[in-house]
Amino acid sequence: MIFYQVLVNGVVLGSLYACIAVGFSLVWGVLNIINLMHGSFIVLGAYLALLAYSSLGLAPWWTVAVAAVLFFGVGYLIQRFLINRVVAAPVMLSLTLTFGLDLIIQNAMIYFFKADYRALNLNPALGSVALGTVVVPVDRLIATIFALLLTFALYVVLRKSRIGRAIVAVRVDQDAARLLGVDIRSIYAIAFGIGTAMAASAGTLLALTFPIAPVVSYAFLGKAFVVCVLGGLGSVPGAVLGGLLLGLVESFGSYAIGPEFAVMLSFGLLIAFLIARPQGILGRRGFE
């Protein structure tokens, strides 16, 4: 049945989207910063996976941990020294700042990695598994499982760890959190670091399934926007739900009316949601 194939494709795509968006959603929800660099961090993670595989023979799912640690540091520093200065400024300023930073990263990527598309081809290829009539490539399956694991790991961190509770406290009520002794600036930096780490690790997984070039960052960034608005800001379950919904809509949409309309469909959905239900499917009323 073609229906199940389309369904499975949607779920695979959706899990990857959730993983892409969850860090973006955390940063937006907690810091109130729309981080336009998010897509570039994803692509940088993918390049890390490409490099690790071509020079060390390290498969992308091993690179995930390296990417997470490395990019946590990058994100922490960027937030601490640059974005913290505009955290309270109007969105016009903070958005423009992250756009400026993104231009720098983009320029660096084009300079070091060139602008052409590159794909990571595992050798030997992993083939695909078939369940009845539904066929899933093994590399995609692995990427999906790791994406779900990563997302779940973030959920556990936010739920169970002290730092995670502090991040959630800052999200819910900044002033109360400060009164209770939470160091807001450091929580901001940690939250941004986590967001960046999630982007880069998602990127290493995406290298398995998508061809990578500096420009694809904008496509991923767009997905992150849509998922955040669909699912609601700053919550992991929201991002997962939003990601799966977008994956399914794109998958069924491409099947029904053609793949060229997939992007249009997702942005149409975004605008519809912004107007009708800006707090997302889950999530409380988020807009100011």
């Binding site: 937006w28 109130n32 729309i34 640059l82 200065r85 505009v86 400024a89 109007p90 969105v91 016009m92 300023l93 958005l95 423009t96 700042l97 756009f99 400026g100 930073l101 993104d102 231009l103 720098i104 983009q106 320029n107 660096a108 300079y111 904008y218 767009g222 926007f225 849509v226 608005v229 060229e260 309309f261 992007v263 249009m264 942005f267 149409g268 975004l270 605008i271 912004l274 107007i275 800006p278 988020g286 807009f287 100011e288």
Partner: protein, 309 residues
């Protein structure tokens, strides 16, 4: 007052640029006028009203495609540009009416999404727009390259003059006052009888019309447009940066900012092609971090503040 003199001098320089006979200068002048139109238009909604619109590119692209398609059908350029403006104002009014109930980040994202949506529409409506192949707009017969460049320079200049006049009028009139009220406290403004929906929609429509006309002129000027080019996110961000350079909230500032930016960007392009976007990114970062009120705020540091008794 010295500010106005400086602007006057710049404008005079711009007007006489084509007389120099230097095609490069004329091109640069046209570009500066085009961006000045966009920055001043953005300032209406982003600066005066305080709604962070990132939708400039949407109206630019719509204008470019409208006039491009009309020109291809044989409509004369002025009519095609008017048509672009007309569609721009209608679309902006509708979009504004719907989206202006959102605030802050949500408004910013929604306007960004409009750009993406329009780009995809232009990409898919292959019959009308040529899709990803782009649209070729025929050249004007019987005109030399330089003559044509000069015509577009003056057209863009005239558009800037109209835009500036309208923006300055809005800034200084009752509308500007209403916008300031909305920017500072929308709820309170409504309570004292400011019809905020009306004013916001009006200003958003105004900020769309001239951008669409600039896009309309641009299409005929460069003879070839494609979705990624005229619905470029950079076209959305640059006007914001220009307004930042000149000081957000001032029409004159936005125009000066546009001229400064275009000059600066051109210098970077010419000298550091490989790193141009990186350097522009650095400039944006420096501007936001150190001069969020624009170049005008520099003066405060140069002159010692007059001591008050």
């Amino acid at each position: 007052m010295s500010k106005f003199l400086a602007i006057g001098a710049l404008l005079v320089l711009l007007v006489f640029a084509p007389l120099s006979g230097d095609a490069y200068l004329v091109r640069l002048g046209t570009l500066a006028c085009m961006y000045a139109v966009m920055a001043a238009s953005w300032n209406l909604i982003g600066g005066l009203t305080g709604y962070p619109s990132f939708g400039t590119a949407a109206f630019f692209g719509v204008g470019a495609y409208t006039s491009g398609i009309l020109c291809k059908m044989g409509v004369a350029l002025p009519l095609a540009v008017l048509g672009a403006g007309l569609l721009g104002v209608v679309l902006a009014a509708i979009i504004g009416f719907i989206l202006l109930r959102l605030k802050g980040h949500y408004f910013a994202i929604a306007t960004l999404a409009i750009v993406e949506l329009f780009r995809e529409v232009a990409n898919s409506a292959t019959d009308l727009t040529g899709g990803g192949m782009g649209l070729n707009i025929p050249r004007h017969e019987g005109l030399g390259v330089y003559q044509e460049a000069a015509i577009f320079f003056f057209a863009m200049w005239a558009l800037l003059a109209i835009t500036a006049a309208v923006c300055l009028f809005v800034e200084r009139s009752k509308i500007g006052f209403a916008l300031a009220c909305i920017r500072q406290a929308e709820g309170s403004a409504e309570m004292i009888g400011v019809d905020s929906t009306f004013y916001k929609t009006l200003v958003f429509a105004l900020s769309g019309v001239f951008v669409a006309m600039a896009g309309g002129l641009y299409a005929s000027w460069v003879h070839y447009i494609e979705p990624g080019d005229v619905f470029d996110i950079l076209l959305t961000i640059k006007p914001v940066v220009m307004a930042l350079i000149g000081g957000v909230g001032s029409t004159v500032g936005a125009i000066v900012g546009a001229i400064v930016y275009v000059t600066f960007e051109e210098a970077i392009w010419r000298n550091y092609l490989d790193f141009s976007s990186g350097i522009i990114g650095l400039t944006i970062v420096g501007l936001v971090l150190f001069l969020p009120r624009g170049l005008g705020s520099l003066r405060l540091r140069w002159r010692p503040r007059a001591s008050t008794p």
